[in-house]
């Protein structure tokens, strides 16, 4: 705080000194940041190691057909990956998730924005959206397979329909929270409709859209695996069913683990990166956290 006030004063007085001080304002010192990041990573690794240790403890009390040893399972993971099997199956599952997700996004973003802006549309679309939210993904999966048969279309449709209400609600609520003062400001400066959407409205929705992507992907994974279990001949869901049919706990767990790893990479890697790069304008406020 003291530092900030110093910057203010220096600006009011003489501006030439200000550039250097402003650089010091947002960032912490380099070394403190690195050690903090290392501690953070250490804690995360520690948490995973603890989980594996607990797994091993429990496995001592059960036969390997019920709870296999962690390293046997990891060896199975290695086999899945080294035979190339993994990439084909995961690719199929990922494609189904992403296509379904894309379809849902294309519909929900405009619909959510319209519902947040126009009261009539809000009243009209609110009941189906809320109803859709309560419908279990499993039922959508069954309905879509009955309607489209065992085709890729049924997988895409099941994913899209399941996550669509959640995405729409998130963007609808985000639109309602938009700052009217900024809209007035853009009107005063004669901003074009396009500029209003791109420069004023969408940036305010970004954090809502990112949260929606997070929840949406989580839901999408669950549905797509169910659809694949119903009788697809490829995809992670199919492989899990295959493991179940030969009663190999090891196979089921190995596929579950690889699946988790991919999800974590997407969640922390891709979405995390996206979030950091679109919210660079916002100072990190962590003073109240310990």
């Amino acid at each position: 705080m003291a530092q900030q006030e110093k910057v203010v004063l220096s600006v009011q007085g003489a501006t030439e000194a200000a550039a250097g001080e402003s650089a010091a304002l947002p960032a912490r010192t380099g070394r403190g940041r690195v050690s903090e990041a290392l501690r953070d990573i250490g804690l995360r690794v520690g948490s995973i190691v603890t989980l594996v240790f607990l797994w091993w403890l429990v496995s001592l009390f059960f036969p390997p057909t019920l709870i296999p040893k962690p390293w046997d399972t990891f060896a199975e993971v290695a086999t899945i990956i080294s035979t190339g099997n993994f990439f084909v199956e995961m690719g199929n599952t990922l494609r189904r998730v992403l296509v379904g997700f894309g379809i849902a996004m294309v519909v929900s973003v405009p619909l959510g924005i319209l519902m947040g802006t126009l009261r009539n549309l809000e009243s009209f679309f609110e009941p189906p959206v809320i109803l859709g939210l309560t419908m279990p993904g499993l039922i959508w999966a069954v309905l879509m397979i009955m309607f489209f048969g065992l085709t890729e279309t049924s997988a895409y449709a099941a994913v899209a329909v399941t996550i669509f209400p959640m995405l729409t609600i998130s963007i609808w609520q985000g639109t309602k929270a938009i700052d009217k003062d900024l809209i007035d400001m853009s009107e005063v400066f004669h901003a074009s409709p396009w500029s209003k959407i791109v420069d004023v409205i969408l940036p305010q929705l970004v954090s809502h859209i990112l949260a929606a992507i997070r929840y949406g992907l989580g839901l999408a994974w669950k549905v797509v695996v169910v659809v694949e279990m119903f009788g697809f001949s490829n995809g992670v869901g199919y492989q899990v069913v295959r493991g179940f049919n030969i009663f190999s706990m090891k196979t089921v767990l190995a596929w579950a683990i690889t699946f988790l790893v991919v999800m974590i990479v997407i969640e922390f890697g891709i979405i995390g990166w996206l979030e950091r790069s679109v919210t660079r304008w916002r100072p990190r406020v962590e003073a109240w956290r310990r």
Binding site: V8, T15, S22, L25, D181, S186, E187, F189, S195, W281
Partner: protein, 259 residues
């Protein structure tokens, strides 16, 4: 340049409970050309509403508000108006210079002029070094300066300011007032400043228009005898001017309470 003509402006709002609230009750005045006109009056009297009418954010029920330009070249084109808000209303996801670009783009200023204009007006408010910074990394006073630069960069016929200093601490506000006054004098800018602060009106206003409490009518219009850069807080005559304004406004508030 230009000035603003307000004639018999009447405006009422619909309350939540269905009754109407009269805000402006036949307000008429002309602003100064090449100078700052202060709209002074008690809080909630409708000064800001009038500013919003001029900026076309609100519409009058009756009466007329016109930006008159001597050039005549305006023709059918709407006048360029710069607006400085109470909260600066910057786009926090845009860097300082891009906030200015947003206004330039909206007002359809040719792109080749952007760089030079941004340089010039950020320089005026003393923030050229901060052009690449995001607003949330700046102090409140600096953000308000960006808001001023954004309003000036479109080279408006009329600059509208809605209590731009009221949320700043005393020292920052004082410095910013001084700078704004100097900038407006240098640009010969026609400006309207809404305020409820008597001292601010006496210091900033070349013309001071005193509004009554709601529903607002004009109580008095007086021209500041001191030129912009010769207003000295310790000068006896300046103190007298301030006293007179204060007395008028205090009487208005008292009348209102007696009713």
């Amino acid at each position: 340049m230009a000035y603003v003509q307000v004639e018999q402006a009447v405006k009422s709002f619909l309350r939540e409970d269905g009754t109407t609230m009269l805000v402006l009750d036949g307000v008429s005045f002309d602003t100064k050309e090449h100078g700052i006109t202060c709209l002074l009056g008690p809080s909630g009297c409708g000064k800001s509403t009038l500013l919003n009418v001029i900026a076309k954010l609100e519409r009058l029920d009756r009466g007329r508000v016109e930006v008159v330009s001597n050039h005549g070249e305006l023709g059918e084109k709407p006048p360029r108006l710069g607006y400085v808000f109470q909260d600066p209303r910057l786009l926090p996801w845009k860097r300082v210079e891009d906030n200015l670009t947003f206004a330039l783009k909206g007002m359809k200023v040719p792109q080749i002029e952007w760089r030079e204009r941004i340089h010039k007006y950020l320089g005026f408010v003393g923030l050229h070094e901060f052009r690449k910074q995001y607003p949330l990394y700046l102090s409140g006073g600096m953000r308000q300066r960006v808001g001023l630069a954004r309003a000036l960069v479109i080279e408006p016929e009329v600059l509208l300011m809605d209590e731009p200093y009221s949320k700043l601490d005393q020292l920052t506000a004082r410095k910013l007032r001084e700078d704004s006054l100097a900038i407006c004098a240098r640009l010969k800018q026609t400006a309207l400043l809404v305020t409820h602060d008597v001292e601010e009106a006496a210091y900033m206003g070349d013309r001071i228009v005193i509004f009554s409490a709601r529903p607002a009518h004009i109580v008095e219009v007086l021209d500041n005898p001191f030129p912009p850069l010769e207003r000295d807080f310790d000068d006896v005559r300046f103190i007298q001017l301030k006293k007179r304004l204060l007395q008028t406004v205090l009487n208005l508030i008292k009348e209102k309470e007696e009713v």
